[in-house]
C-alpha cells in the first residue's frame, strides 16, 4: 500500500495513458481521437517529469535557492519542454488536417473517412 502511494504519479500516468488510448480506440470523432492523443502526450510528459523527482528536492534553479542539499533532475525537465512544444505542433497540424477533412468530406466521423482502403 505504501509502495502504491509512493508511486502515485506513475499510477496516474498509467491511468492517463490508458484513458488516452481508450479514447483513440473507442471514439469515432476525429477531434475526440486527437484529444485522446493529447491526453496520452500529457501522460508521457508527466511520466518524464515524475521520474526526475527526488524526495524533498528543490527545483534546479540556483537563483534564490533555499539552502537544501539536493535538487530534482534537470534533464527530464528539459526533455519535457521539448516534448510539450513538439506536442502542440503535432496537435495543431492534425487539427488542421481534421478541419480540411471536414471541408472536403463533410464529416469527421472516422468510419466515413475511408476513401483510401483496399
Amino acid at each position: 500500500m505504501t509502495a502504491f502511494l509512493l508511486s502515485l504519479p506513475f499510477v496516474a500516468v498509467l491511468a492517463l495513458i490508458f484513458i488516452g488510448l481508450g479514447a483513440m480506440l473507442f471514439k469515432r470523432n476525429l477531434i475526440k481521437i486527437l484529444m485522446g492523443l493529447s491526453l496520452f502526450e500529457s501522460a508521457v510528459n508527466l511520466l518524464l517529469v515524475a521520474i526526475g523527482y527526488r524526495q524533498d528536492g528543490v527545483a534546479p534553479i540556483f537563483t534564490h535557492v533555499p539552502p537544501h542539499t539536493h535538487m530534482v533532475l534537470p534533464t527530464v525537465q528539459a526533455l519535457t519542454l521539448t516534448a510539450i512544444v513538439i506536442g502542440v505542433a503535432t496537435l495543431a497540424m492534425m487539427l488542421s488536417f481534421a478541419m480540411i477533412i471536414y471541408r472536403k468530406y463533410g464529416t469527421v466521423d472516422i468510419r466515413n473517412i475511408r476513401k483510401l482502403n483496399g
Partner: protein, 94 residues
C-alpha cells in the same frame, strides 16, 4: 466483436505496462550521475543559474534546434494545408 478485441488489446497492454507503476520508485531515482554532473557543473560551464535552461540551451541545445524545427515544420504544414490554390490547380482527376 471489435470493441471486445480492443478491450482485450488494452488489457494485455495494461498488464504489461503495469510494471511502470510497480517497478519505478517515485522520488528515488536509481542512478543520477548525468544529472549530478549537470547540477555540479552547469553554473561553471554555462554561467546559467537555471540548470534546466542550461541543459536546454547548452548541453542539449541540439534538441532545442530540432524542436524549433518541429514548430517551424508545423507552421509550414498548417500553411501548406490552408494555402490558396492557383486557379485550376487540380491534382486528382478520378
Amino acid at each position: 466483436m471489435r470493441p471486445t478485441l480492443f478491450i482485450g488489446i488494452l488489457l494485455i497492454l495494461f498488464s504489461g505496462l503495469i510494471h511502470i507503476a510497480t517497478d519505478l520508485s517515485f522520488g528515488q531515482p536509481a542512478t543520477t550521475d548525468l544529472d549530478d554532473y549537470f547540477l555540479r557543473h552547469a553554473q561553471e560551464h554555462t554561467g546559467a543559474n537555471n540548470v534546466v535552461t542550461s541543459v536546454v540551451f547548452d548541453f542539449r541545445a541540439f534538441d532545442t534546434l530540432g524542436e524549433a524545427t518541429v514548430l517551424f515544420t508545423a507552421v509550414l504544414g498548417v500553411g501548406i494545408l490552408f494555402r490558396k490554390l492557383h486557379p485550376g490547380e487540380e491534382y486528382e482527376h478520378d
